[in-house]
Amino acid sequence: MKVMKKVLLTALIAATPMMAQVKEKIEVPYIAFPIKMGKGFDVVQANCLMCHSFGYIINQGRQSKKFWEGKVNKMIVHFKAPITDKDKKVIVNYLFKHYGNGKEQ
């Protein structure tokens, strides 16, 4: 019984400062996603961070060139990402090099 009480108490203490945040402005922490550096990264950074974090790229796992090309096209067609044809090529090459599975298709 004693043990139970103690556990409950610590849980309460831990929860209080978190709850208080809603009364104020909340702060969503920044996460440094382990995105790979390399040729074309600057172009990816300039084009892909406007609407979401790099976490979206990493979450997809290793994929084919066709997959990444399709993904960038989806961003342009459905979500209206303003990405030029020239940048698109650089981005797809970067994605395939660092998040590719070696397969074209």
């Binding site: 996460i31 382990p34 976490g55 979450n59 997809q60 796992g61 997959f67 209206k80 397969k103």
Partner: protein, 401 residues
Amino acid sequence: MKRREFFKTAAVTAGAAALGTTAAEAGVTHQPIDNRKVGNVAFPEKRPLITYSDRPPLLETPREVFTCALTPNDQFFVRWHMPDIPTYIDTDKFTINIKGLVKKELKISLKELKEDYEQVEVAAVLQCGGNSRSAFTPTPGGIQWGSGAMGCAQWKGVRLRDILDRAGLKKGAEWLAVQGREKAAYYETPNFIRELHLDELDDHVIIAYQMNGEDLPYLNGFPVRLIVPGVYSDSWIKMISEITVTDKYQKLFFMDHAYVVPDNECECETPEKLFPKTKPIWRMNVKSIIGYPENGAKLTLKSQAVVRGVAFDGGAGIREVQISLDGGKTWDKAILDSGKLGRYAYRTFRYGFKPKKLGKLQIMAKAINKLGEEQPLAKDIKWNHGGYKYNGIDVVTVEVV
């Protein structure tokens, strides 16, 4: 945690997908990814969860939480689509605006919502239509979730029907467009709006301001969100700003393009030949998840072990959960909780046994609902391009030592 040891060899950087690369073009389905660890950063009002993105926040609940009937608020999954989420809500000024084909437009404050309407409660499962999406190969569009894009809570609020009654519907009113406060970063990106047909509104559909007895956590849609029991979460609009009553369906991106499945009997297709007609996802199918033990756990030979987990469906209610310890050859009934939370909530189940043999042991759980619908084996689920509605029989592999 034991399962971490078990997966020592797997690449487990935050969110890295370990499966989904050996794409058999035919479209195959397997167990979802289950080797991701919680992050080391906690989001507001949350414990550290599996973290896919910070902007917008995407947080998944780890498996071990799926032993309780109500998911604690600080472990409840988080899913937004747009990066621009207000970081402050002035609760004195906040209103829900009801407009369109109504006799009287309403601006309902939180105080009015809590005092001027009948207060109701419902326990219901909130599950992303793409929960377990990582089970599909080739990789469908969207976030590659494990099985933790779901939770169950006791929601408190006001019936949407009562609010619409007070506003009074005009002739021709047929659809509701519900919009939240998340905004796209780029002006041309479609906003996240959900349309509901008025016929789909039953008395269980509420605007909730409370979750498990507390204010909604900010990241779960504070101060109010829509609750549509039995239905996938893309309809449960968070941080509601306005509800517009219309006479026609507007064909919006997130209704008609995202969150759709093939409009055929099996709701399936192949990667080479997508089915031309689609329909929005709606009612959830029957599903169960084992919360304990986890993959890689060690059980002791000939000692008592207990399998625990949760089962749910779209509101028919769970009739039975069965456990198999021999790869699906024989099944044995698990014990269900009393079901007092109602037909939209998790039913917890438990099953005691003594492991008889050393080495690897597969534990499988299968739920059957009151309509007699049961979960298929993972491999028998047919592929769809959005990776929606996966409900394969959950399999956990443990080691008996």
